[in-house]
Symmetry: C2
Subunit: 351 residues, 2 copies
């Protein structure tokens, strides 16, 4: 019988944030690919596009015109998944199989920049700080609404992530319930905090910094790493070094450090396959239900789909949908590859 | 305040099989789509393709040649995610953050037919019965191996589901642990059974048949329906009417009825957008860990990604990855649309 080699042998890893496992098959990275290749839009975009409904001054689907904004711009999603209506209903607690409850909320769109042709890795530090301050303001204002108990800030980047407009933007969905994934994480964080009186992510970060092999970037206030239990090939997480439960608690120095790491991480992503790297990213932080939530610890997830090149993604299909997430490359290898990427954006390097 | 209208108002529905919720936004189906369109392969395939490594008589990646098979053909996946090696390791129970365990298993490929150009909806009933009998045989044999505690039978169909070869085939991954999704379902089924002494799906099916509005197809032994808590736009589930915990327990009449409903359902799928309808499907049934598992009840999930046409899929991205699954069309509406589809395959209709 041979000894377990985590770099070679199929194994499962445990994710303590959601109490689930992932199947890792390191040897499978050698598999050839004959399947679907993704289409990557490589055209260069104008600074302002007259047909873009997110550009300053242009008209949107509902007939309104965007202001001539100079930094960020936030508006209510014209095709919101959530509505603000206060709906009356009776909770039929006898239902086991047909349990449904109205959900109240607000969906917003956040334009990151007036420039149609930029993405976060190409923006100035000041521009990225503006995005973070906009997120702070929205979290604060939406969270203050009585019926809003959770605020999900996220970005879908790239056509392969279902993003239909290249103009740099993210979204915020704020709602009355804790969404499924948040409830799971809340549960895990709380059990840990109640038992240890420290946050799970504080202790995890300490152990990761000691090991070092999954760290991608570190600065005075933040760390970007490939989590031990990552699912997506180049999945990462940005964690604040200080125990901060929500984005509004960051000091000015922390906002700057957050902008720096966001920029560096997304530059490395773009450099990896010399493409505008697609991903879904999002912030996980304390619910806005009025509680203190000392168990929470600010972090941001990046879930990028690409596996081997700008056109070959990981498919989370059959086995993954029915049984368990599966990955072909170890977290340690991914971290190493990302760490090695230049901090200068490949487009600038060419000049 | 207006009264809750489940056909119009945003709401959440509860999935008792995994104890998770889904956000439903019926009004959002009207949203226009400017995003990525999928590429659909519309070429017609030859009955035998000399370059296909799944066709009878052809050579595979490892140099072996396929037999000249006439029904189904099963072989070990040349790029298996699991390996059979018995790996030695020490369970470091003190680990909270770096928990990993070797996983032992077998990955197989199941060719559904020697014909390169057919898919399940285009196969004869006899051909589909052969597939089911092959699944029975594999479940039985793999399940009998001492270290195999769970057998996942599944199919990825279509290039958009990461399937790299149109030759009709599915896969089987058999392994020593209960995968994440199975563990969740096992837990829910067991709690229900312990409390009620009936299976959750038996009672659910009774209530669905009473309601009728989510039923797509019903025959003497099986029902195909859109579950109340469906996530994917045209997600369905085939449930056996009889309380059967595993595929090997079906009578000959049940095997035939299962083949009939599989064929009818996939014909309706193909007819919906006049395309070879992509999906991942898979069977959930009793683990092979030696237990009786009276809480289990045979069912098969279909997770198809298409939303509006053969080229427009639902993207499970940002909000869905970070917070909660979300859908734009109600399960009742989807069931109605599927029910209305002809039982004659659109390609035959043209003749
Ligand atoms: O084994 P295949 O068909 O090469 O690969 C496909 O199915 C597997 C099981 O669902 C997935 O892990 C892969 O991402 C997918 O591309
Ligand atoms: O709101 P958008 O950008 O039109 O839509 C995109 O993001 C949403 C939130 O993740 C998803 O529900 C949609 O499936 C996706 O296409």
């Amino acid at each position: 019988m041979k000894n377990f080699d985590i770099n070679e042998d199929p194994h499962r890893r445990y994710n303590p944030l959601i109490n689930e496992w992932v199947l890792v098959s390191p040897h499978r990275a050698k598999r050839p690919w004959q399947g679907q290749n993704e289409t990557i839009l490589t055209q260069t975009f104008p600074k302002h596009d007259a047909n873009c409904y997110l550009c300053p001054g242009n008209e949107r689907a509902n007939g309104e015109s965007n202001p001539k904004y100079e930094n960020t711009f936030v508006f209510d999603n014209d095709f919101a998944a959530l509505k603000q209506d206060d709906i009356m209903y009776e909770d039929d607690i006898k239902q086991t199989f047909f349990k449904a409850k109205p959900e109240r909320g607000i969906s917003k769109v956040v334009c990151f920049s007036p420039r149609h042709d930029l993405t976060i890795p190409e923006m100035s530090l000041e521009g990225i700080e503006n995005i973070i301050r906009t997120w702070q303001k929205e979290y604060n204002e939406l969270g203050a609404i009585k019926y809003i108990n959770y605020v999900q800030i996220f970005e879908n980047k790239g056509n392969i992530m279902g993003c239909s407009n290249p103009h740099p933007h993210g979204q915020i969905w704020a709602q009355s319930s804790l969404p499924t994934q948040i409830e799971k994480t809340q549960h895990c964080l709380k059990s840990y905090y109640d038992k240890n009186k420290t946050t799970l992510l504080q202790d995890y970060l300490r152990d990761e910094l000691k090991k070092g092999d999954r760290i991608v970037i570190e600065n005075d206030h933040f760390v970007a790493l490939v989590p031990f239990w990552a699912i997506w090939p180049y999945e990462t997480m940005i964690i604040s070094k200080r125990h901060v439960v929500k984005i509004t608690d960051f000091t000015a120095a922390e906002v700057t450090a957050y902008a720096i790491i966001l920029r560096q991480l997304t530059i490395k992503y773009d450099n990896l396959f010399k493409t505008s790297f697609p991903y879904s990213s999002g912030i996980h932080q304390a619910p806005t239900d009025g509680g203190e939530h000392p168990e929470w610890h600010f972090h941001m997830h990046f879930y990028p789909p690409l596996l081997r090149s700008s056109t070959i993604k990981k498919f989370m299909v059959g086995y993954e949908m029915l049984a368990e997430a599966q990955r072909d490359i170890t977290a340690e290898k991914s971290a190493e590859v990302l760490r090695e990427q230049s901090d200068v954006h490949y487009k600038l390097g060419k000049k």
